[in-house]
C-alpha cells in the first residue's frame, strides 16, 4: 500500500510548500468554488487538483436546453475551457471518477488506478438524473435502451439531438413535467417531432407551483402543440431493439420513437456514502460547508444538505461557493452560509414562470391574493404573513416580479394597496426593484441622477433618505421618483438606513409634524414666519427651505391677520408670476372656467404686442400664457392687462377647467361652464399645501377630464353632480375617488370647499391630493366631509369662507410695490442662455 502511494505521487509535489487541495467534481459548483478560491489568492496557498467525470472543461448546465433547441451551440455554453485550467495551474483529470476517499490517510482513489494525497478536499459531485424503475428501461447489459435518454449532460444532449434528427423518428415522449421535462419537450419540437409530456404528478411543475397555476401552465404548454398527460405513471418502455412506445398506468399507451427521462435529479452521494460521511438526503454540511466528520473535507452544490435543505438551483450554489472560499482560504474565517431563500424567475418552454417561497397559505392568518386569467395564461398568487411576502407564484406576466423578488428576499414593507403588488396601477410605485436596476439607469428624470450616484452618496456617508436626496438632488424635481429613491437607498445601505425623524415634520427646519406645529402656532399666536423660527426652530435658526411652507400655512391659519414678510415668499409669490429658466416670468391672467371675451382677447393681444411678448401659449388649464416677461415689466404688463391674476405660479388653487356644457353642447346635461366659473370666483388663489387643479364636465363624456383632477365635478343625468377627489394626470396618474353625488350646484360649492379646507389643514407640505386622499382613506374623508362624522363641517365651512373673504388680487401690487425694488431685475445684465422662441402660426 505504502509503495503504491509513493509511486503515484508526482515528484514535483515534493518541496511545494502549498497545501494540496483536491476538488472532486468539475461541474458548476466545483469550478465556481475554485474560481472563488483563486480570487482570494488561493493559488498561493493551494496546489489544486480537480477530478471531472465528464471529459470536458466546465459548462453551464442550465443552458443545455438552449443547446437542445438549437438556440446555442455546445461551444457557447462553456464556462471554463481546458486552457483555463492550464493557465491557473490546476491539475485537471477529465473523464476520471473518484471512487473512494480515505479521510484518515487523506487519500483519494480514482478509477484510473491512481491514488492522490490531499490536505484539504472539496466534494462537488452534483446530481444525477433520477431514473424511475420501469420495465424495459435498460438492455440486458445494463445500458439504456436505444432511444431512451436522460437530460443531464452535454453528451445526453448531443445524443438526443442526433437521435431526434433521424428521419424515421417522428414522435417523442418526455417523462416528467417539471422544469427540465418541459424544456426538453420544447427543445425536441425544434426537430419536427410530435412531443407528449407524461407527468406522474397532479399538475405540471409541482415542485414550484400550486395546482391552479399548474393547470394554467398546462393550457399554455398545450397551445404550443405539446400534449400533456398528468397523473400518468409510466410502467414500461416498449420495444425490443429500440424504443417503440411507452405503457402508462390507467392511460392509453403512447407510441413513440424516443423517450426522454426528466423525472428529477438526485444528489450524487455514492462516493460520500462509501467513504463514511454522514449522508441523509445529501451530504450533511455545517454553515462553513464542512462535512460532519472532517473539518478538512468540504462539500458544495447540489450534493449537499444544509440545515435540512437540498438546493437544485444555481443561486444558492453561488452563495455556498463564496462562503467555502472565504473559509478555506482564511479570507473571512467567520463567513457563514445560512441557507438561501429560493426565488426563481425563468422561461419554461416559452412561458414566463416565477416562483418563490410558499406556494399557498399555511396558517389561518396568512393573507392570500390570487388572480387567474387562464385564457391569457396569466396567474398570480401571493402569500403574505405578518406584513411580509412569504410566497409568490407568477405565470405569464412578469411585470411585478422584480419588485416581488426583492420584497420576498429582503422582507420589504408591502404597499397598503395590495393590488399594487400584482399590477401597475399607475400609482406612485417603482416598476423595477432597486437591485435589478442597472447602475447607469437614470432614477431621477428631472435632475438626471443615476442609481450609481445614489449608491455613491450612501457609500459617502449619507445615512438617511433625505440626506441622499439633499446630496444628489434626486427626488427634488417632480418628486415622482421618491419611492424608487427610497428603495435604492435602503438597498444600498443594506438595511442600515436610519429612521429619518424629520420625515414627518411639516417643514425641515422646525421639528414638529403638522398638527403639533399648528397647535404651537395657535397657542403662541405666531403670526409671521420669523416668529415661528424664533419660537419653534432649534436655536431659533431660520431655514430657507422651510420658509415657503410656513408662509403658506400661516396665511391659511390667520388669513387677514397674517403678518406677511416678503422674504418668506418664494420668488413666484413675491412677484406673482412663474419664474422661467432664463429668469424671466410667465404671466397668466385669470380666465374663469376658460371663458373669455372679445374685449379680453383684444386687450391680451395689445399687451403682447406692446411688450413684444416672445411666446403666447394656451395652457392646459384653458388660459393664455404670456411667456418671457422681464421682472421689471410685470407691473406695466398687469396694468395694461387690467385682469386679475390667474395664479399660475403658487402652491394654491389654480384653475377650473370646464367643457361647454348644456348651453351649447348637444350632449350636455348640466351647466358645467357656469359652475366652473363660480368655483373659480369663490376659491381663486387660496393657499394650499400643494397646487389644486379642478375641472367641471357637463356630462359623463368628461371632456374637462374631471376624473384626474384634485377636485373634479361631472354632471350626470337627472340634474345631479358627481364630485371626485384625489385625481391626477401629471407625474402620477390616478383616477379620483367619488366623494359624493349631489343634486345642486350649491352643494358642489359647499362640499368642494369643505374638502379643500380639510386638505389645507391636514395635508403635508407639497402633498398633492392624489397622495393625501389615499393616505387618509376615501371612506374616512367621505365620513368627515359628507356625513360630518367628526362634527367639524361647520367649522371647515367657516374657515374657508374667512380665507375667501381675505382674498386680494396680488396683481394690485403692480401699482404700489410692497417692497423696495420688488420688480427690480435680478437678471445679470448680459444675456443668459435663452429659451428658443417660436413664432406663432
Amino acid at each position: 500500500m505504502t509503495s503504491t502511494l509513493e509511486r503515484s505521487l508526482p515528484e514535483a509535489d515534493i518541496g511545494d510548500p502549498r497545501r494540496k487541495l483536491i476538488v472532486i467534481g468539475n461541474g458548476m459548483a466545483g469550478a465556481r468554488t475554485v474560481e472563488e478560491i483563486l480570487q482570494r489568492n488561493g493559488a498561493e496557498q493551494f496546489a489544486i487538483t480537480m477530478f471531472g467525470d465528464e471529459p470536458y472543461g466546465n459548462y453551464n448546465r442550465i443552458m443545455l436546453s438552449h443547446v437542445l433547441s438549437g438556440e446555442e451551440s455546445d461551444q457557447d455554453i462553456y464556462l471554463n475551457s481546458i486552457a483555463w485550467y492550464e493557465e491557473n495551474h490546476i491539475t485537471l483529470h477529465v473523464g476520471v471518477r473518484a471512487t473512494k476517499i480515505d479521510r484518515f490517510a487523506k487519500l483519494v482513489y480514482s478509477n484510473d488506478g491512481q491514488i492522490t494525497r490531499y490536505d484539504q478536499l472539496i466534494i462537488a459531485t452534483g446530481s444525477n438524473s433520477f431514473m424511475p424503475s420501469m420495465e424495459g428501461l435498460r438492455m440486458a447489459d445494463g445500458s439504456l435502451k436505444p432511444g431512451v435518454f436522460a437530460f443531464r449532460t452535454i453528451d445526453d444532449t448531443r445524443g438526443m439531438i442526433e437521435y431526434a434528427q433521424h428521419d424515421n423518428h417522428n414522435r417523442a415522449a418526455v417523462i416528467g413535467g417539471g422544469l427540465l421535462g418541459l424544456e426538453a419537450a420544447r427543445g425536441l419540437q425544434a426537430y419536427g417531432l410530435q412531443v407528449d409530456v407524461v407527468h406522474a404528478g397532479g399538475h405540471l411543475m409541482n415542485a414550484q407551483v400550486g395546482p391552479q397555476a399548474g393547470e394554467i401552465l398546462r393550457r399554455s404548454v398545450e397551445k404550443l402543440g405539446i400534449e400533456v398527460h398528468v397523473k400518468a405513471r409510466t410502467t414500461a418502455i416498449m420495444g425490443e431493439e429500440k424504443v417503440t412506445g411507452i405503457w402508462l398506468l390507467e392511460h392509453p399507451q403512447i407510441e413513440c420513437d424516443m423517450v426522454v427521462v426528466a423525472a428529477g435529479i438526485r444528489p450524487s452521494v455514492e462516493l460520500a456514502v462509501r467513504s463514511g460521511f454522514t449522508v441523509e438526503r445529501a451530504i450533511v454540511v455545517d454553515d462553513q460547508m464542512r462535512t460532519v466528520e472532517d473539518d478538512d473535507v468540504y462539500a458544495v452544490g447540489e450534493c449537499v444538505q444544509h440545515r435540512g435543505e437540498v438546493y437544485g438551483l444555481v443561486a444558492p450554489l453561488w452563495e455556498q461557493a463564496v462562503v467555502l472560499a472565504d473559509h478555506i482560504t482564511g479570507a473571512d474565517p467567520l463567513s457563514a452560509y445560512h441557507g438561501s431563500r429560493t426565488a426563481t424567475k425563468l422561461k419554461v418552454a416559452g412561458v414566463d414562470v416565477a416562483s418563490m417561497g410558499l406556494q399557498g397559505p399555511e396558517r389561518d392568518t396568512d393573507e392570500v391574493l390570487v388572480f387567474a386569467e387562464p385564457k391569457k395564461g396569466i396567474f398570480k398568487s401571493l402569500v403574505i404573513r405578518d406584513e411580509k411576502l412569504v410566497g409568490a407564484t407568477i405565470l405569464g406576466d412578469t411585470s411585478k416580479v422584480a419588485f416581488l423578488m426583492q420584497a420576498f428576499d429582503r422582507g420589504l414593507p408591502l404597499p397598503v394597496e395590495r393590488l399594487e403588488m400584482m399590477f401597475n396601477l399607475g400609482t406612485p410605485a417603482a416598476e423595477v426593484g432597486a437591485e435589478e436596476l442597472a447602475d447607469d439607469a437614470q432614477v431621477c428624470n428631472c435632475n438626471g441622477v443615476s442609481k450609481l450616484a445614489l449608491v455613491h452618496a450612501v457609500e459617502g456617508g449619507c445615512k438617511t433618505v433625505n440626506a441622499v436626496m439633499d446630496k444628489t438632488r434626486a427626488g427634488k424635481g417632480c418628486g415622482s421618483c421618491k419611492t424608487l429613491v427610497c428603495q435604492i437607498v435602503e438597498w444600498a445601505a443594506g438595511g442600515a438606513v436610519q429612521e429619518d425623524p424629520s420625515a414627518n415634520w411639516y417643514v425641515p427646519g422646525v421639528p414638529l409634524d403638522k398638527p403639533a406645529l399648528m397647535d404651537a402656532i395657535r397657542l403662541k399666536e405666531l403670526k409671521s414666519v420669523s416668529a415661528v423660527f424664533a419660537a419653534l426652530a432649534p436655536a431659533g435658526a431660520e431655514d430657507a427651505k422651510s420658509k415657503m411652507g410656513l408662509a403658506s400655512l400661516l396665511k391659511m391659519m390667520w388669513d387677514s391677520d397674517y403678518l406677511d414678510e416678503r422674504d418668506a415668499r418664494y420668488i413666484n409669490d413675491r412677484v406673482h408670476a412663474n419664474i422661467q429658466r432664463d429668469g424671466t416670468f410667465s404671466v397668466v391672467p385669470q380666465m374663469r372656467g376658460g371663458v373669455t371675451s372679445v374685449a379680453q382677447l383684444r386687450r391680451i393681444a395689445d399687451v403682447a404686442e406692446k411688450h413684444q411678448v416672445p411666446l403666447i401659449k394656451l395652457t392646459g388649464g384653458q388660459r393664455i400664457d404670456l411667456l418671457g416677461i422681464p421682472k421689471e415689466s410685470l407691473p406695466q404688463v398687469w396694468a395694461d392687462l387690467d385682469m386679475p391674476s390667474g395664479y399660475a405660479y403658487g402652491k394654491s388653487f389654480r384653475t377650473v377647467k370646464t367643457c361647454v356644457g348644456q348651453t351649447f353642447c348637444r350632449f350636455g346635461t348640466g351647466d358645467s361652464t357656469q359652475l366652473g366659473m363660480d368655483l373659480e370666483t369663490r376659491y381663486q388663489g387660496l393657499e394650499s399645501p400643494a397646487k389644486l387643479k379642478l375641472a367641471v364636465s357637463g356630462c359623463p363624456r368628461n371632456c374637462a377630464e374631471s376624473l384626474v383632477k384634485d377636485v373634479g365635478v361631472v354632471a350626470i343625468d337627472g340634474g345631479r353632480w358627481e364630485i371626485y377627489i384625489g385625481g391626477a394626470a401629471g407625474a402620477h396618474i390616478r383616477k379620483g375617488d367619488l366623494l359624493a353625488t349631489v343634486h345642486s350646484q350649491g352643494e358642489v360649492m359647499v362640499l368642494s370647499g369643505r374638502f379643500m379646507q380639510y386638505y389645507r389643514e391636514n395635508a403635508k407640505w407639497l402633498e398633492r391630493t392624489y397622495s393625501f386622499v389615499p393616505r387618509i382613506g376615501v371612506d374616512r374623508i367621505k365620513a368627515i366631509i359628507v356625513d360630518d362624522s367628526d362634527g367639524i363641517a361647520t367649522r371647515l365651512d367657516a374657515a374657508i369662507s374667512e380665507s375667501v373673504a381675505a382674498y386680494r388680487d396680488p396683481w394690485l401690487d403692480g401699482a404700489d410695490p410692497v417692497t423696495a425694488g420688488q420688480f427690480r431685475t435680478s437678471l445679470p445684465l448680459e444675456v443668459l442662455p435663452q429659451v428658443p422662441v417660436r413664432s406663432g402660426g
Partner: protein, 107 residues
C-alpha cells in the same frame, strides 16, 4: 497685486429685509443679501448650474437657494452645498451712513 477698491452702492434700504438684490460691481454681477440679523453678504448673482438669478433666491442665516432648481450656496463663502461650482463671494459692509460698500476682489 492690485490695491483693493471699495464701491459705494447706495442705501441699504434698496434691499428689503431678508431679501437680495443684484448689483454691478466693477463689471461683475453680484447678489447682495440683507439678513434679518442686519448682516449683509455678497455672492455671485448667476447660478453656475443653469444661470438662475441668485438675488431672487430665498435665504436663511447661512445659505441662499437658487430659485430655479434649489441649489444651495453658503452666503459667507459662495460655496455650493449641493455639488455645484462656487458662486464666489465679495467683502461687503454697511457704513455709518447706511450705505452698502463692496470691495473688489483681490487679484
Amino acid at each position: 497685486m492690485n490695491a483693493t477698491t471699495d464701491l459705494r452702492l447706495g442705501p441699504i434700504e434698496q434691499i428689503p429685509i431678508g431679501e437680495g438684490r443684484a448689483f454691478d460691481v466693477f463689471g461683475e454681477q453680484v447678489a447682495i443679501f440683507r439678513l434679518r440679523s442686519g448682516r449683509v453678504y455678497a455672492v455671485g448673482a448667476v447660478c453656475p448650474h443653469r444661470g438662475g438669478p441668485i438675488a431672487d433666491g430665498q435665504i436663511d442665516g447661512s445659505i441662499v437657494l437658487c430659485p430655479l432648481h434649489l441649489n444651495a450656496f453658503e452666503l459667507s463663502t459662495g460655496c455650493s452645498t449641493t455639488g455645484q461650482p462656487d458662486l464666489g463671494s465679495w467683502p461687503v459692509a454697511v457704513d455709518d451712513n447706511g450705505d452698502i460698500l463692496v470691495r473688489s476682489r483681490a487679484g
